[in-house]
Amino acid sequence: MNTHPLFNFIVEKDARTIAVERVFAAPLDPVWAAWTEADILCRWWAPKPYTCVVKSLDFREGGRWLYFMEGPEGDRHWSFFDYESIRPKTYFAGQDGFCDEQGRINASIPSTAWESHFSERDGSTLVKVLLRFVSAEALEKTIEMGFKEGFTAGLQQLDELLADQGH
């Protein structure tokens, strides 16, 4: 089980899109649940050492997921995901962006259009996420928001943690 799962991360600067593809060694049902149910999402959505806390999640077209990620220094990054279209166990799409704890959208950072596709094959599940940015600046700002210097340190900690676990 030490083989690396398929993971593609394709940046198309001209099209202002990022395509993320990943295969998970589990059937569709639990993978779909992990992406759409609050109690599971909060267990993995934030990479270590960040934690994710879900304030509300209304998984239906027109519904919203409101949550924050908290860093080791107690810094909170409130985010939302507005679900626009859902095809159960196949696809969901919407808008993702930053906001405050009331869910008031931070307009200085443009939101990102998301499409997530799910398909099962031989007991494994392929998830394809297409992120569409309104502009190159939006792409830059989104990345800048949560993932700058402090975050690199966090990722290094994660590497150590995984190394300890023999991954």
């Binding site: 993978v31 993995w44 990479p47 792409l139 995984l162």
Partner: protein
Amino acid sequence: MDHLSATFQALADPTRRAILARLSQGPASVNDIAAPFSMSLPAVSKHLKVLERAQLIARGKEAQWRPCALKAAPLKVATDWMEQYRRFWEARFDRLDDYLKELQAQPATAKAPTRKSRKKRST
């Protein structure tokens, strides 16, 4: 504006990307660069200024010719950044893997029975 913002802003324009693509083949004069575009020299010069400000290109000192050349360093910063975002996703997915593994280690509570648990049930 920080360097990274300048880089992305400079890259946001198709003409400037085409200019960079041209310069990736080697230094060129403003006339050479302008040739494939239906654009006035001053318009091309404006694009070159944006690229120069973002430090994506360097211009020679020779007054007459002033060849433009590509500078790769800021592009590298932008690429490094993407790498960070990629690792963010990777780290996130590793956590989901852990959860899914945990879930499959306890077939009694799993929603979809695995082949193993079905076998168990039939015995």
